[in-house]
């Protein structure tokens, strides 16, 4: 299938990596992009009419939880990869907090083997930074690199031991791997359930103060600056964290970061009904934090949009608010939710696409993120005007734990191609 010729005709091609934004055609041959130009001849290719659609490099999500191995009842590599494709993602990076933890080469190889059988987005494993995510000793980083991990993270846990964090980024440097930090001072956040703020005070729910995130972000930036090694901060959510990253970048420190759609769209007020579908870590914060994350996306402080896709079953989310697991699914709503940034005038469409493509690719040094001639044909096409209502039961993901259920969104993926193969095309363009 991937050897056939496909011509995507008449779409608005936006490729921020090459500074392209215009009505053009894209030719795919043998799984690679061979031409990007106006008025291409079909030359026997299968023609896809992309009139009215935006054609862009396939989206890259640096932060998902695919739950396999160990929690296949929540999600599998197959369902997660397909959920990604349905959201326009052609590559997703899966976190290491599986069971067993991806902290050695054999688990990494297992994940990649399962991924090779799955239809949908490419799956790039992230290895644990420390053995068993326990934050005590470094994991076998060299072995995992050899097996194919693209980054390192204890996500879900913060590397609380500052010296071990310093060792991790230094050791990872040898393998050109980025360490991804889940910024959360576990002592400061202890027993917290939602953001410490007006809502937690009123509802009597234990709070997670914003500084629990910021103090670790500052610590890591300081250590990255001192060592000259790089760090990527996952899912930043607090105003002061955005400010800290802005300052660190201005000082030339090699720090990158990501923001999740729920953090730049929803506030802590959503928790007023005690619904755990609005519970994640870091938590939904106050309006000024949401505004600050948006400002960080607008001025480039934040490098990319990552979903922190975290599937759970319905009954798990129906537990008491302080017992229900953290996390929400995000792959299939990311584009529609993020398009609100364009609608609200926070940033333009090319800048938004860069946050989904070239910039995440650059943060981890991943292939893809561009429509350069000769590169693998990973691309997506979406209708920026199409309105749709989020219906969790229609998700490809096993997880229906979305905070956006019932919300009307504008912007929907209609075509996803990975390596020249059409993996998602719901309306048969």
């Amino acid at each position: 299938m991937s050897c056939e010729k496909i011509l995507i005709k008449g779409g608005r091609v936006i490729d921020p990596a090459q500074g392209i934004d215009g009505l053009m055609d894209v030719m795919i041959e043998n799984g690679k992009i061979t031409k990007v130009a106006k008025g291409l001849d079909s030359d026997g290719a299968k023609i896809i009419n992309a009139k009215g659609l935006v054609v862009s490099p396939g989206f890259i999500d640096l932060h998902v939880h695919l739950r396999e191995p160990g929690y296949e009842y929540k999600e599998t590599i197959q369902t997660g990869a397909m959920a990604g494709a349905a959201g326009g993602f052609t590559a997703v990076c899966c976190m290491a907090n599986t069971q067993p933890v991806n902290d050695n080469g054999s688990i990494t190889r297992h994940i990649l083997e399962r991924a090779s059988l799955a239809k949908g987005a490419r799956v790039y494993p992230i290895g644990a930074a420390t053995k068993g995510l326990a934050g005590k000793e470094l994991a076998e980083i060299g072995e995992m690199k050899q097996a194919g991990v693209v980054a390192l993270s204890d996500d879900g846990r913060c590397i609380m031991d500052a010296r071990l964090f310093q060792n991790a980024i230094r050791y990872a440097y040898m393998f050109d791997l980025t360490v991804v930090e889940h910024c959360e001072d576990e002592m400061l956040a202890k027993d917290g359930v939602i953001n410490e703020g007006e809502v937690s005070a009123r509802l009597g729910i234990k709070g997670i103060p914003a500084p629990a995130e910021t103090v670790i972000a500052r610590r890591d930036a300081d250590i990255a600056g001192y060592t000259g090694c790089k760090v990527h901060l996952a899912h930043i959510s607090a105003k002061e964290t955005v400010d800290a990253v802005r300052t660190a970048k201005a000082n030339g420190i090699k720090v990158t970061c990501e923001a999740a759609p729920h953090h730049f769209t929803l506030t802590e007020k959503m928790l007023e009904g005690f619904d755990a579908n609005f519970k994640m870590n870091p938590p939904l914060r106050a309006k000024e934090d949401v505004d600050a994350v948006r400002a960080g996306l607008a001025d480039g402080t934040i490098d990319c949009i990552a979903t922190d896709h975290a599937p759970h079953l319905q009954w798990e989310k129906e537990l008491e608010i302080d017992r229900a697991p953290n996390g929400v699914v995000g792959l299939e709503t990311a584009l529609g939710v993020s398009m609100k940034l364009v609608e609200d005038g926070v940033l333009g469409l090319p800048a938004l696409i860069a946050l989904f493509t070239s910039r995440p690719a650059a943060a981890f040094g991943l292939p893809g993120g561009s429509l350069r001639v000769g590169s693998p044909a990973d691309l997506t096409a979406f209708d920026p005007e199409k309105k749709w209502t989020v219906n969790p039961s229609a998700f490809f993901s096993k997880g229906r734990n979305t905070p956006f259920a019932g919300m009307e969104l504008k912007g929907k993926t209609l075509l996803t191609i990975v390596g020249g193969e059409i993996v998602y095309n719901p309306e048969t363009l």
């Binding site: 937690s200 009123r202 009597g204 729910i205 709070g207 009904g273 008491e320």
Partner: protein
């Protein structure tokens, strides 16, 4: 006393004070006042809720509130079943929702829920199929406590309007404080909360209360002084250094009481820590209405059960 405004509670839930208007609070108090004399009779029973089943579902230890609901139900002739988390199947791994669904399948007429997690009664109300009464959920709400407090205050002060109220102690962890603040605000009270800064919620800007860390300042000119229970486990959490230091600053004793109005009243949801948050002299003295609160608790819970699951149409 003004007669109850016409309020219809039948089939409703009682989840928090926020759901009640000032008129409804007065209506509940007036109804409860009529039930007080039942507990003074030789035969303490009315046939009102005969054939009705009230389930007390308690996921955390409680003597006072559970007993109060049990006696209230029994004095109205309801069949009252007590289920504590220790004896239910929760320990076997059944979820809260499944526990409630199973009980709901037995068709109770009211479900009283006490739970350490905030929001659980609200959640249960969505599928319980009968009125749910919040018997205290985490640090969130304890509406029947606030209602019995209003009843007690009204008995002494005749009106709830424009009172100077001091709430003293561990506000951070107190569902009693939250529900009472909500209730007092219905009646335009001037509310001052007082306690160590570590035991105050971090973001109280929207509470509409004055915050002080000086008990003398809090009690100055107070009509009502509401003491909260301090729990020793808060020391282990590093929230205050010692009971000795706590009581030296936040214990309500006769000296502090001199700052209050001469006819001030002192409430406490119990159980009291003598000599820690309240001196015996004050707890047992002329200002104290602590035991009246317990007596009124039964009458108020009779009123709540009566209006929600039997009652006047």
């Amino acid at each position: 006393m003004v007669d109850s405004p016409l309020v219809n509670f039948k089939g409703r839930h009682l989840l928090g004070i926020d759901d009640l208007s000032a008129d409804e609070i007065i209506g509940l108090v007036n109804t409860a006042n009529r039930f007080v004399e039942v507990s003074e009779r030789e035969i303490k029973k009315l046939p009102t809720l005969r054939g009705k089943t009230v389930v007390n579902l308690f996921f955390e230890p409680s003597t006072r509130t559970r007993t109060s609901f049990e006696i209230a139900g029994k004095r109205l002739s309801a069949d009252v079943i007590n289920i504590s988390a220790q004896s239910s199947s929760v320990v076997k791994g059944e979820t809260f929702k499944d526990t409630v669904l199973n009980l709901a399948s037995m068709r109770p007429d009211a479900l009283v829920i006490r739970h350490p997690s905030p929001g659980t009664p609200l959640y249960a109300s969505k599928f319980a199929g009968c009125p749910v009464i919040n018997g205290g959920d985490g640090a969130h709400a304890h509406p029947t406590q606030a209602l019995l407090d209003m009843m007690t205050i009204m008995e002494r002060r005749k009106s709830l309007k424009n009172l100077n109220v001091a709430i003293i102690g561990d506000v951070l962890h107190s569902r009693v404080a939250r529900s009472n603040i909500s209730a007092f605000k219905r009646f335009d009270a001037n509310i001052t909360v007082c306690g160590p800064k570590t035991l105050m919620p971090a973001h109280m800007d929207n509470f509409g209360v004055r915050v002080t860390h000086d008990i003398y300042e809090a009690v100055e000119g107070a009509d009502v002084i509401m003491m909260l229970r301090i729990q020793t486990e808060r020391m282990a959490q590093g929230l205050f250094p010692s009971l000795r230091e706590y009581s030296s600053r936040f214990c309500l004793d006769s000296k502090v009481m001199k700052k209050a109005k001469p006819d001030a009243i002192v409430t406490h949801p119990g159980p009291i820590n003598r000599g820690i948050e309240i001196s015996s002299e004050v707890a047992d003295g002329k200002y104290s209405v602590i035991l009246d609160q317990v007596t009124h608790g039964v009458a108020m819970r009779m009123a709540v059960l009566y209006l929600l699951c039997g009652g006047a149409d």
